[in-house]
Structures are given as structure tokens and as C-alpha cells.
């Protein structure tokens, strides 16, 4: 009795009740594909968060005004708060004091609506800054040019805008060289930045960047800086750079203890760690849900195989009476269960890949190869494991009892 022959018996057994075979396979298929799709959604969302953070730049640090604490003491020291100034930004560009900082740029934010004829746009980020801002914030100009230090020194009213702002103001027209009025002040567009996509809640392409002098002169006036953006030399030395920034600013702001600092540092790397760990929890949660459905599929196989064994008890008796060894009966039913789970698993993998092509709740799923192997492997194991009990029951039926079964 060779294996091929037993497989043929098993296949014949499966074709006896096609509907039942189909439904069992469907159960496994849904289990496997949901494992693949749901982990792909989890993976996709964590990838999306990571990408948007990468675009922000993982080696950039933001310095903002304000104390790190809240409550009575924070309010008590707030009287002593020294605002962030251009001079602070300049100090953070001094390689002697901050050797691990590549560059720093001051940011003066404004809230302004820009008008071009009948089109208007209120950029989410409307900032006056230095040219070094572009690299520190990971923004590249793809059309036109950057503004220069000379533009800053001269206070020229030129601007680089993001894609969303450009579309809102100019539609499909080329914005380069055109002039828009922002808060009533004319600015000439000299460049547009590469599309960044949204990072969290803000649209990274709703962007309007101009020389800080121009913004301060004509819109905000000479106010404290909103922030200073600092770029560390690499993401590895971000922590070192952060310590150096603190040393410089502590001296400049005459901070005596760490608790009385009048500024705060925001590090993208720590944001990244938080978000990726939270999206990992999300993925595990989804995988658990999917795993349960796979388990349910497995129990479905057991159920069907048990019913099949009971239904075919008499047939098993006949086979035993005409000389079928126990091992052959066992193999036949095990192979039936394995075929069910193999086919279901394979269809599930296909279904999982197809399903992962669609955007699900705003997330583009990214299939994890490990989940495919895991889900497929588990489904086959489930077939063997859950099929094993009914199969051994079938095999150990005594022929005399099986034959009496009606």
C-alpha cells in the first residue's frame, strides 16, 4: 500500500461531501488570510508612522520656550523665563560649543492667510527661518531654488512653499516667480518642496517658508522665536548634541538647576520609539484576533472530521474487514485533514495577498513574510493536530463494532 494510493483514498473521501469540504476549507482560508491581512495592516500602519517620522528627520531636535514642569513651581519660575532669541540660534551654530550639532535655525511662526487672485490658502506651517532650516527639517526644494543667507540679511520677501499650498494657490500653474499676498504683504515664490505627506495631524505639505527677517519685519514684528530647530550630525549623536545644547542654553539663560529650565527639547528619536512601540502593540493585538479565527478554523476541521468518521464508521468497518491495516486508515483520515488545511491555507495565503492590496481604514497594508509562513505552517499543524484525534478514533474502531454501525 503506497502513499499515493492512500492519498487517492483521501481525495475520494473529500469529494464525497463537496459542500462540507468547501466550508471547512473556507474556515481555514478565512483564518489564514485574516492573520496575513491583519498583521499586514498593523505592519503597514507602523511603517507609515515610521516613514512620516523619517521624513521629519530623526536627527533633528527642537528647542521651544517654556518650562518642562507644570504647576505652582513652573508658574513661579515663569517670570524668569528668557525668550529664545536669534542669538541663541547663533550660539547653537558654534562648532566649538556644540561639536555634535551640524546646524541650527531659528523659527518664527506666524498665522497668515495667503491670497492669489481668488484663491486663498492658510498654510499649517508659516515660518520665517534660515536656509539651514531646510536640511534640519528634511525639506528639499524640487522646483526653483532655496532662499539664501543673503535673502535673510536683506530681508527679501521671497518664499518656498509646499505642494498643498502651491495647489491651493495656483492649481496646476507653475508657482515659481509668481507673487502672493500673505497678511497683506507680497511674497515672491522661488521654490516648491518635495511632497512629504502628512505626519500625524499636520499636513507636511501645507508649508510656507520665508527668510526670518522678512517675516519679522512685515508680519510678526520682533517677537521671541517660536522655536529653534537643531540638526545633530547623525542620529547616533542626537543624545550628545542634546546635552551640548542644554549646556549652552543653561549658560546663556542662567539656569541654575535642571528643574528651572525655561526651555524644552523635543527629540524625534524619542517620538519614534514611542510610536513604534505603540504600533507594535497594535500589531500584536490584531495578530491575536486573527490567531483566534485560525483556531476556530482548526476546531472546524476537528468537528468536520469527527462527523465524517461517525458517518463513515460502517465504511471503516468494511475496509478493516477486508484487510485495511490500522496505519492505512489513520493515514487516510490524517491526509484528508491535512489536505483540507493545506488547500485552505494556500487559498488563505492567496486571499491574504489579494486583500493586502487594498487600503484598509486608511492604512496601506504591508505583508510580513513571517506572518505568511506562520499562518500557513500553523494551519497545516492544526490540520494534523485537530485531524489526529478523529483519525485515531477511526483507526482504532473495532471492525466488528464498526460493521454493526448503521
Amino acid at each position: 500500500m503506497n502513499v499515493l494510493e492512500i492519498i487517492r483514498f483521501a481525495l475520494r473521501g473529500l469529494t464525497i461531501n463537496r459542500l462540507r469540504t468547501f466550508l471547512t476549507t473556507l474556515g481555514i482560508m478565512i483564518g489564514v488570510s485574516s492573520v496575513i491581512i491583519l498583521t499586514a495592516v498593523g505592519n503597514g500602519s507602523s511603517k507609515a508612522v515610521q516613514q512620516s517620522l523619517d521624513r521629519l528627520g530623526t536627527n533633528s531636535i527642537q528647542v521651544r520656550s517654556g518650562s518642562s514642569g507644570f504647576g505652582a513651581r513652573a508658574r513661579a519660575v515663569s517670570n524668569n523665563t528668557k525668550p529664545l532669541t536669534i542669538l541663541d540660534a547663533a550660539a547653537l551654530n558654534d562648532p566649538k560649543q556644540v561639536p555634535d550639532v551640524k546646524q541650527a535655525a531659528p523659527i518664527a511662526n506666524a498665522n497668515a492667510t495667503c491670497v492669489n487672485g481668488s484663491s486663498t490658502s492658510t498654510p499649517a506651517t508659516f515660518s520665517g527661518t534660515w536656509p539651514s532650516y531646510f536640511e534640519a527639517s528634511n525639506n528639499q526644494v524640487v522646483k526653483g531654488s532655496y532662499f539664501t543667507l543673503d535673502d535673510v540679511n536683506q530681508g527679501r520677501r521671497v518664499a518656498v512653499i509646499g505642494n498643498t499650498t502651491a495647489t491651493e494657490l495656483f492649481g496646476t500653474d507653475n508657482p515659481i516667480g509668481q507673487t502672493v499676498k500673505c497678511a497683506g504683504i507680497p511674497f515672491t515664490i522661488i521654490g516648491t518642496t518635495a511632497i512629504k505627506g502628512s505626519s500625524g495631524f499636520t499636513d507636511g505639505d501645507s508649508l510656507f517658508l520665508a527668510p526670518i527677517t522678512a517675516v519679522e519685519n512685515s508680519i510678526t514684528g520682533y517677537q521671541p522665536l517660536s522655536a529653534i530647530i537643531v540638526e545633530a550630525k547623525s542620529s547616533k549623536v542626537t543624545d550628545l548634541a542634546q546635552a551640548e545644547i542644554q549646556t549652552v542654553l543653561d549658560t546663556r539663560h542662567k539656569v541654575r538647576g535642571t528643574s528651572s529650565r525655561d526651555y524644552r527639547l523635543f527629540n524625534q528619536a524619542s517620538l519614534l520609539a514611542t510610536s513604534s512601540s505603540s504600533s507594535q502593540v497594535f500589531t500584536v493585538l490584531l495578530a491575536a484576533v486573527a490567531g483566534i479565527s485560525l483556531l476556530v478554523g482548526g476546531i472546524g476541521i476537528t468537528n468536520i472530521m469527527l462527523v465524517t468518521v461517525i458517518e463513515r464508521t460502517r465504511e471503516i468497518g468494511i475496509r478493516k474487514a477486508i484487510g485495511a491495516p490500522k496505519g492505512v486508515i489513520l493515514s487516510q483520515f490524517l491526509i484528508e485533514a491535512t489536505i483540507l488545511s493545506l488547500v485552505g491555507g494556500a487559498l488563505g495565503v492567496i486571499g491574504g495577498y489579494i486583500g493586502s492590496h487594498f487600503t484598509i481604514v486608511g492604512v496601506k497594508p504591508v505583508v510580513m513574510p513571517s506572518s505568511v509562513f506562520l499562518a500557513f505552517g500553523v494551519s497545516v499543524l492544526i490540520g494534523l493536530f485537530f485531524g489526529g484525534y478523529p483519525a485515531s478514533r477511526a483507526a482504532s474502531l473495532r471492525p466488528i463494532e464498526a460493521l454493526r454501525h448503521e
Binding site: M1, G317, I318, I322, G323
Partner: protein, 241 residues
């Protein structure tokens, strides 16, 4: 075949067979010490009312059940001490079963049904098919080989079962109420077939409660309450225990 020489060789040798159900005072003896010898080439009918132990004896002889005590030699091999796996081999090679309810595998052609026991013995496909077709020819069903059981009459199904039993060339053809589900015409055909098979030298044992079936056998054994109460020859052929 070896009809003449086989008179001496013993196919079935049952010694002090006891089958007990339950234990203690409530124990029931389905077989209460049966001694039985059947020689090669014999045609034996085992008769008795229900509860006489004839079905239990048939299950013992067919290696479908194990006895509580006693010994059973089939073709000189003691099988009363074999385990289930060894018994399945014995059933496949030594015994051809014919049941009252035919017991063909459903949704499977006559040919595949006849091939099945040979498949379990590991006989190669071509040889299997050749022997199966030959067996189907013996029972006169050459034109029905690719029919499934539901497409065959009761008599035809039983003949497929006979072909299946013959194809493995067993030492013993064991039929349990083979005519119980057949009309009189089919019964007559089947009994003719048994005569023919026995005439070719095959040992045939038929369990029945019908007198006209038993009349066709050469030797009739009657049972009651788990014991053999008579063992007679119908004609002047064969031997008695």
C-alpha cells in the same frame, strides 16, 4: 485445483472457544466451549436461531473479534493471540467476507471495490486490475465493472462482494447470511455461484438460518446456546469433525 489432496489439510481448527460478555454472575456465554475443524475444500453451513452464538462464531472465524479463551488456528497459524494489526493482515490474505448487507464501499465502482482488498495487500495496480476483472468474470458481471453500488441490483451487488472476496484468493470464503437481503431468483443464482466456487476447490462457510440455503452445503453444523448440537453431512461427500 488441489481438491483431492487438500482433504487432509485443516483450514479451521477451533479448540475450546469461549466468548464471554460481562463478568461474574451476570456473565453471558455467547460461545460456551466450541471445538470445530473444517478441512480444505469443504462447504459448511452453520445454522441456529438468533442467540445461538452462530454470529459470534462467524466473527471469531473471520478474525473480526477475539475470543475470551480457547485457541483458533487458521491454515495452521494460531491467530487467537494476534494483535489487531496482525489480524487485519490475516483478514486481508486468508479470508474473503460476504455480508448480508453486501458492504460494498459506496460511490466506488464495482472494479474499484474488488481491487480494494488487494490494494491493502500492496499488490501492484496492473496485477490488481487483471485479477479483479477475472473475479468479476467468474461472477458474471463483466459488463458492470464501472457501475457504482447504487446502480446495481441487490443480487449484482452481492456478486460484486463475492468477486471482492475471491480476488484475494483466500483460504476461506466466509458468508454471513448472504441471501438475507436477496429475492429468490438472486438467492438461487448466488447459491449456484457458491457451488461453482466450492467445486473449484475453495473452502466455503455459510452462516444462515434458512434451511434451503443450508441444504446446498455438504456439511451442516447446528448451534444452540453457544454450543454445537449437531454436525451432519448432507450428502456422502466431505468429512465430519
Amino acid at each position: 485445483m488441489d481438491n483431492q489432496t487438500s482433504n487432509a489439510s485443516v483450514v479451521i481448527d477451533v479448540r475450546k472457544a469461549v466468548k464471554k460478555y460481562g463478568s461474574g454472575e451476570s456473565a453471558i456465554y455467547a460461545l460456551a466451549g466450541v471445538d470445530l475443524k473444517i478441512y480444505a475444500g469443504e462447504y459448511v453451513a452453520i445454522m441456529g436461531p438468533s442467540g445461538s452464538g452462530k454470529s459470534t462464531l462467524m466473527n471469531m472465524l473471520g478474525a473480526l473479534d477475539i475470543m475470551t479463551s480457547g485457541q483458533y488456528f487458521l491454515d495452521g497459524i494460531e491467530i487467537s493471540s494476534m494483535d489487531e494489526n496482525a489480524l487485519s493482515v490475516v483478514r486481508g490474505r486468508k479470508i474473503g467476507f460476504i455480508f448480508q448487507s453486501f458492504n460494498l464501499i459506496p460511490r466506488t465502482t464495482a472494479l474499484a471495490n474488488v481491487e480494494l482488498p488487494m490494494a491493502y495487500q500492496g499488490i501492484k495496480s496492473a496485477e490488481r486490475k487483471k485479477r479483479a476483472l477475472a473475479a468479476l468474470q467468474v461472477v458474471g458481471l463483466t459488463d458492470r465493472v464501472s457501475h457504482e453500488p447504487t446502480e446495481l441490483s441487490g443480487g449484482q451487488q452481492q456478486r460484486v462482494a463475492v468477486a471482492r472476496a475471491l480476488a484475494t484468493r483466500p483460504s476461506l470464503l466466509l458468508a454471513d447470511e448472504p441471501t438475507g437481503a436477496l429475492d429468490s431468483k438472486s438467492t438461487e443464482d448466488l447459491l449456484d455461484l457458491f457451488d461453482q466456487i466450492n467445486a473449484a476447490g475453495r473452502t466455503v462457510v455459510v452462516i444462515t438460518h434458512e434451511h434451503d440455503v443450508a441444504q446446498r452445503a455438504k456439511r451442516v453444523i447446528r448451534m444452540r446456546d453457544g454450543k454445537i448440537i449437531s454436525d451432519t453431512l448432507n450428502a456422502n461427500q466431505g468429512v465430519s469433525a
